[in-house]
């Protein structure tokens, strides 16, 4: 495995009175696409929120290695500091700022950056990747369709120039064709040098895109390995790949 960027070590996370993560271990290497799959309520979103600082583990560590620096324990940092270290979190359900314009949504992704010239260049690059965002630049983000909002949410996350991009169910509620487009773009983003941690219900697509994967059940990692191996694993096929097809048909 490449040099680890992120290592979660025996993390115990509570949400309110509920013990949600029961000691999670997870590693993401530089340049990888790592998929995290599992049923509803397994705790996938909770893992991402713990990395980006919206939740704090009661126990265990979340170590991040900045470029050429010493490891940092993210469990001690606020979200606004963590994004500054190069970790962007594209949250579940897109959550664009509906009343802000498309352009403002993109600019706010670069909120911590002071290099105006480079921000403007990145804005052009994101618009080149998602031309619809350029066409809709002045409209409120709430007026976009679901697929367009997903592109905006990804574009917004890219505007911070992340080294590690956390994606929570980018396929959620979108037509299969749009999901294909988005997954192609995620592949491009990764080839351009960004490490991805991808949470998905759509296990088939996630395992096809990812290098490695983890399977979660009720707050624990139950399986992990190369994505191709997991895709062939009978247990995974039965529990997630069949289910994923049904979910797709249901939409």
């Amino acid at each position: 495995m490449p040099v680890p960027v992120l290592e979660i070590d025996a993390a115990q996370v509570w949400r309110g009175q509920t013990h949600v993560l029961h000691g999670i271990d997870l590693t993401v290497g530089e340049g990888e696409i790592v998929a995290l799959i599992g049923a509803n309520g397994a705790g996938k979103t909770t893992v991402l929120m713990t990395i980006s600082g919206l939740l704090r583990p009661r126990d265990g560590a979340v170590r991040y290695r900045p470029h050429g620096g010493d490891p940092v324990d993210l469990a001690r940092l606020a979200p606004e500091a963590i994004v500054g270290l190069g970790i962007a979190h594209c949250p579940e359900g897109r959550q664009v700022f509906a009343s802000l314009s498309v352009r403002e949504n993109l600019l706010i992704g670069a909120y911590l950056r002071r290099d105006r010239v480079a921000v403007a260049a990145d804005l052009d690059r994101v618009v080149a990747r998602f031309p619809i965002l350029g066409e809709r630049a002045r409209l409120p983000a709430g007026s976009l369709s679901g697929g367009e909002q997903m592109m905006l949410a990804i574009g917004r996350a890219l505007m911070s120039r992340p080294r590690l991009l956390l994606l929570d169910e980018p396929s959620l509620g979108l037509a299969p064709q749009i999901v294909e487009t988005i997954f192609d773009i995620l592949g491009d983003i990764n080839r351009a040098g960004t490490t991805l941690l991808l949470v998905e219900q759509n296990a088939a697509m996630a395992l096809e895109l990812a290098h490695r994967a983890y399977v979660m059940e009720t707050g624990r990692v139950t399986l992990s390995g190369a994505a191709a191996d997991l895709a062939d694993n009978p247990e995974v096929r039965r529990a997630y790949l069949g289910a994923a097809d049904e979910t797709m048909a249901g939409r």
Partner: protein, 297 residues
């Protein structure tokens, strides 16, 4: 149009300017922390007494008095946020309402203890009360200044909220606090900015009140504060343009109600204001410019 009606409209515009300035703060603060600051009207009272003190103590030029009032208003707002709102973040809404009511009572009682409940005259420089010559209606210089200053402040607010990085951070925080944090926004600072700006405007309204009516007392913030809250709700609480619109509409409606109906109805002025609120909310539950509650974060 008759001169009488014109006079009423002018009076409504002046009163509406003050309501609008106070209503903006209610809406900004609600928009960002989803709580009503019931002590907001009392900040206007503090602004009025700040003006009184500045005028009495130092005979400062009026522009300095205005700046002092804005600063003191902002400082009081920040203090209220730190003491009464921040410790309750994440607690049930009712707790915040009760706490801010307590702060309101505390400010009023402290005012009465220190200053007595006796109304005081504020002596603004005499040139301010010169009538504007050549008009068919009675409008003093101070009235013109109130309306102009209110418009200037609202334009400045609009520029801050819509054109600056801080304004963008405040709007994002108001819409979705967690995602704002994911963007790197220091949401505490955005919340503090909303309190500081909204409270500075309320302080300014207090100065205007003193300048127009000449008398101030520690309880003066209560009823106008409540009416400005009504204005904010009519406009759609959480919406800044809504608060401005609500403030002016309420000011005009109140003055016209008193001015156009027979004098024996004048005593129902406040009942009329709250009746208007109920009517508006029956027809438009989110106010004139407010968004549906589901649309908010």
């Amino acid at each position: 149009m008759s001169d009488y009606l014109l006079q009423q409209l002018a009076n409504g515009l002046i009163l509406g300017s003050m309501y609008a300035l106070v209503a903006i703060g209610f809406s900004m603060i609600y928009g960002i922390v989803r709580l009503i600051n019931f002590a907001h009207g009392d900040i206007a009272m503090i602004g009025a007494f700040t003006a009184l003190a500045a005028l009495m103590a130092a005979d400062l030029p009026i522009i300095v008095v205005v700046l002092a009032v804005l600063l003191v208003g902002a400082a009081v707002g920040l203090a209220i946020e730190a003491v009464a709102f921040r410790p309750l973040r994440g607690a049930p809404q009712v707790n915040g309402f009760i706490t801010s009511l307590a702060v309101s009572v505390l400010i009023q009682n402290t005012g009465i203890l220190v200053l007595t409940a006796e109304p005081r005259s504020v002596a603004f420089p005499a040139f301010l009360s010169q009538p504007i010559a050549g008009l068919p209606i009675t409008v003093d210089l101070v009235d013109v200044l109130i309306v102009v200053l209110a418009i200037v402040l609202m334009a400045a607010l609009g520029a801050i909220v819509n054109r600056t990085r801080l304004g963008m951070a405040m709007r994002a925080t108001a819409e979705n606090l967690d995602v704002a944090r994911l963007m790197g926004i220091n949401v505490n600072r955005a919340i503090m900015a909303a309190f500081a700006i909204g409270s500075a405007l309320a302080g300014m309204a207090g100065l205007m009140w003193g300048a127009r009516y000449g008398q101030i007392d520690p309880m003066m913030g209560f009823l106008p504060g409540l009416k400005a809250f009504v204005a904010a709700v009519i406009g759609g609480v959480g919406s800044i343009p809504g608060a401005m619109l609500g403030g002016y509409l309420l000011g005009l409606a109140e003055v016209l109600f008193v001015g156009l109906l027979p004098p024996e109805y004048a005593g129902f002025r406040d009942a009329f204001v709250f009746g208007t609120l109920i009517l508006v909310l029956l027809v438009l539950p989110n106010g004139l410019l407010g968004r549906a509650a589901e649309d908010r974060a």
